[in-house]
Symmetry: C3
Subunit: 346 residues, 3 copies
C-alpha cells in the first residue's frame, strides 16, 4: 500500500434526492441526481512554472448518480453538436489555463460568463426543483450555459478556479473582476451558416464584500437568428439575511424575452433557509409566462455533506407549460414539486 | 512531484483471459475481459461526520478491458432504459450513503439483494465460462442484477462496503445481516405502465462463521407481468472443502422457472479448486432446461493478482440453446468453454 | 483531508491549440485538442510480485479537450467494430501485463508494433497539422494504429511502459528490443469472414544511443482482402541536429501504396525546431499522391508544459484531396494549416 504521487486532484459531488412533481396531466416520483449541486467526477491540477506563471487543467464530468449515466456535451455550440448517448463526457468543464498576476488565459469548454449572473444570484443554487425560472424557461440556445472551443481571459479571481466572481455562490472578498470569452462553431467557410456557433460573452463584477453587483452580455451567431443574453445582478449581505436578485434580457432571432429573480438566504443555526421568486416571459404567440416560488432549507452535517429539502410551485400563463420534477402540466396550469436529499462532496 | 490530497480512493480490476467456446453451430476464440472478476474502474470515499454518523459514496464503472469500451447501464429498470453505446458509465454502482450503528441508508444504483444469493454461493464467483446457469438462463428482466433509482436500508455489515453478507464471496465473521431495497421506474402517473420498473428486494442472512444461510426475495412491477425472484443459499466450511449451494424460484408474468447450484471450493496449496453443478428450467413451451458442470483453478501470485483457468460444459434440453464464450449451439445441443487468464486488482 | 492510499497513478495530457486550415473549397478556424500530444486521461499501476515478477495495468482514454467528448475505440479490429458515440472509452490503451527479466506478456488493447515506426521517426510527433502524411493518407484499415483483443510479447524495454523502443519519441539508451503482437477479430467459426480482424505485428529495433534503426511488419486478415503494413526507420543524433526518416510499404487487398518521411529536430536554446517532408502514394485509379512540408517550434515552459506552433503545406496529385485542420480542398489542389497551442502533462 503505497501513497500515490500525483499532479492530479480527483474530486466531485454525489447528490441524490427523493423527488416528487405534480401537474395537471401527470405526476412523478423519483430518485434524482444533483438537486442541490450537480453530481460530478472531476480531475484538476495546477503547476507553478516560475516567474509568477502557472499552468492548470480542469476536466469535469457530470454524472446522473441515480442511474450511473454520464451527461451530454455539445461539440460545436449548435443544435447539431449535442452528444447525448449516456456515456461519461467532460461536459461540465474541459479546459487548460496559463496565468499570472495579469490574469488567466483559458482554452476549452467552460461556462459562458453571463451564466454566472443566473447561477450566483439564485438563492437555491440553480439546482433542483427550486431552479430559477430564468434558466428553466429560457429561450437561449446551445450556449445558454456553456460553450465549447472557447478562449477566455479572466481577471481578478483565483487561478484555475471553479466559480467566477465574488458574492453568493462565488468567492469571499472584495474587488473588481472581469471575464471575456470568445468561442467558435468550427464550420467550413463559404456557406450561409459558416459563422453559426461563433460567439462571445463578457462579464464585469464589483464587490465590497457584503455588496456585490455585476453585469454580463453574450451573443452567439446563427444564420437562423442570433441568440443574445444580457443580465445584471446584485446581492447584499445584511447578516440576518443575504438578499439577492437579477434581471435578464434575452433574444433568439425575432423572439424577445425577459426574466428576473428576487430572493434571499436566512441563516438558521448551522443551516440556511432559501427563498426565491422568479419569472420569465417571452413575446412568442400567446405571451408564455412562467412564475415560480421556491423555498428550501439546507442543513450541513459537515463542510462536505448536507441534508436539504425544497418545495416549489410554478404557475403558467398562455402557452407556457413549465412543470417540476418530471410532472407534466397543461399550458396555463401550475405544478408543484418537492426535493428531499443528501449532497456529499469529495 | 507532490502527493495528492484526496478524499477519494481510486481502485479497480483489470482481468483478461484467452477464451474458447465450442458449440454445434459455431465456435469462437477470443480475448475476453472479466472472466474471474469484472474489469472495472471505481472511485469511493467515506467521511466521518461525528456522533457515530458517516457519509460515503461509491462510483464504479464496468470496463471491457479487451477493447477499452464501457458497459451498459439501465436508467429506469425497464427494457426501454438500457444505455449501451460503448461509453464509460457507472453501471456497476453509483450510490451515496449515510450510516451509523443503526445501519446504512443507501441511495442510487446498486445490486438487488437477491442477486447476492446467486453470486456468493457460486464457487466460480459468477464470472467467466463457469458462471452459474441460474444467472445465465434466468427469465428475470432488467432488475435481475441491479436497480437504478433505489433506496436501501442495510444492517449488520461494513459501511459503504462492496459485498453484502458474511460467507463465501462476502465478509469473514458471524452475525445477522439484513438488506431491504425499494426502487422506482420513474414513469408518469395515470397510465397502465405508470408503475413499471417499481420494485423491491429483501435479504436476511445468518452466519456462525463457518456456516452461513440466507434467503431473499424481490419483485419488479410491469403491466405486461411482474418479475419475481426468490432464493435461499447456504455454505459450510469444513476446512478441506467449503461446500455451498442455492435454490431459486423465478416468475416473469405467466412464466415460472426454477434453478439450483451445488458446489464447493478445495484449497490446494496457495490456490483453490472450484467445482459447481448448476441447472435452470422454465415452464415455457418445450420446457427449456440448461445444465452446467464447471471446474476451475485459481492460483494467486499475490493478494492482488491471480492466474486462473476454468473449464465448463453446458447441456441443453428442449428449446434451450445456452452456449459458452461466444459459441453458438442449436437447441438441445451442448457447448464447451475454456478460460485461461490473469486478474489484477488495484 | 487525508492523503489517498493508492496503487494507481492518475495521469494525462491536456493540449489545446488555435488552429487554422485553408483549402481550395473551404477554410476552417477552430480550437483543437491534441495538436502536439493527444489529450488523454489515464490510470496505471505496477505491482511487484516477488521473484523478479511484476504485474501492471494501463487504462488510457483519449479526450477531445475542446469539447469534453471521449474518443472512439474498435471492438473487433473490423469496420463493424467502431464505437464512436462521444463517450469516454479506454480507446488509447487498455492492457494488463505480467513480466520479468525475460520480457513482458501484455493482454488487451494496444498500439500495433508497426505504428511505432511511423510515430517515433516523425519529428513532429505524429500530432497536429504536421502529422506525417504516411499516417494521414494511409490505405491501412481498422488496425492501422491499434488493435483490440491482443496478446503481445515485448523484450528489452521498461515494464508496463508507454513507448516501445529507444530513439526519438522513445527511451534513452542503447540495446536490442523486440515486440510481437497477435490479435483476434472474435468472429464465429464457419463463415467466410471467420478470420476477419485476426492479425499480427512484429518489430525489432537496435540502438547505439545516438543511432537507432528498426523494422516492422504487420498483417490483418479480411475476406475482402488483407491489410499489410511494413516499414523501416532510422535516426541519428548529431547533437546540432537529430536526423530521422522512415519508409513504408502498404497493401489493402489489391491496392498497394508507399510512403516515406525525412526530417529532423534542431535544438534552439531550451526549445526545438522540427522539420519534416513526408509523402504517400498508392496505385489506386489516378495514382493519388500527397506530399507535405511541415515546420514547427516547441518551447518548453517546464518539463510538463510547452508552447508550440506548427505550419504545414500539403500538395495533392491525382484524386488525392488531403487537407489540413478541417479545411476542404479539391483533388489535386493544396492546403495550408497552422497550429498555435499549449500542451500540459499531469
Amino acid at each position: 500500500t503505497a501513497f500515490a504521487q500525483s499532479n492530479v486532484t480527483v474530486f466531485g459531488v454525489v447528490d441524490l434526492a427523493v423527488t416528487r412533481g405534480s401537474g395537471s396531466i401527470s405526476n412523478q416520483t423519483g430518485l434524482t441526481s444533483g438537486q442541490l449541486a450537480a453530481s460530478r467526477l472531476a480531475f484538476k491540477g495546477t503547476e507553478d512554472l516560475g516567474n509568477g506563471l502557472k499552468a492548470g487543467f480542469w476536466l469535469e464530468a457530470g454524472i446522473n448518480a441515480d442511474t450511473g449515466t454520464g451527461q451530454s456535451t455539445n461539440t460545436n455550440n449548435q443544435t447539431t453538436g449535442f452528444v447525448k448517448n449516456g456515456g461519461f463526457t467532460f461536459n461540465r468543464r474541459s479546459h487548460l489555463s496559463l496565468g499570472g498576476n495579469w490574469g488567466e488565459i483559458r482554452l476549452g469548454r467552460d461556462f459562458v460568463p453571463q451564466y454566472w449572473n443566473i447561477a450566483h444570484y439564485d438563492p437555491l443554487d440553480l439546482s433542483g426543483v427550486g431552479t430559477s425560472q430564468v434558466l428553466n424557461s429560457s429561450i437561449g440556445g446551445p450556449t445558454l450555459v456553456r460553450a465549447s472551443n472557447s478562449i477566455s481571459y479572466l481577471y481578478g479571481h483565483g487561478f484555475n478556479a471553479a466559480a467566477i466572481g465574488y458574492g453568493p455562490g462565488g468567492f469571499s472578498g472584495s474587488g473588481f473582476q472581469f471575464q471575456a470569452m470568445g468561442y467558435l462553431g468550427e464550420n467550413p467557410s463559404g456557406s450561409a451558416t459558416s459563422k453559426d456557433g461563433n460567439g462571445y460573452g463578457l462579464r464585469a463584477l464589483y464587490s465590497t464584500g457584503n455588496f456585490t453587483v455585476s453585469g454580463a452580455t453574450g451573443r452567439t451567431r446563427y444564420a437562423a437568428g442570433d441568440t443574445r443574453q444580457s443580465n445584471v445582478g446584485a446581492s447584499y449581505n445584511l447578516g440576518v439575511v443575504e438578499l439577492m436578485g437579477m434581471y435578464e434580457w434575452d433574444r433568439n432571432g425575432p423572439l424577445k424575452a425577459r426574466g428576473w429573480l428576487a430572493g434571499g438566504r436566512v441563516p438558521v443555526g448551522v443551516g440556511s433557509i432559501r427563498v426565491a421568486y422568479s419569472r420569465y416571459d417571452s413575446d412568442a404567440a400567446g405571451s408564455p409566462t412562467a412564475k415560480k416560488w421556491a423555498v428550501g432549507y439546507v442543513h450541513p452535517l459537515s463542510k462536505r455533506t448536507a441534508l436539504y429539502t425544497t418545495f416549489a410551485h410554478v404557475s403558467n400563463d398562455g402557452p407556457s407549460a413549465s412543470a417540476l420534477n418530471g410532472a407534466v402540466t397543461a399550458p396555463g396550469k401550475s405544478s408543484n414539486g418537492f426535493d428531499l436529499g443528501i449532497k456529499h462532496s469529495f
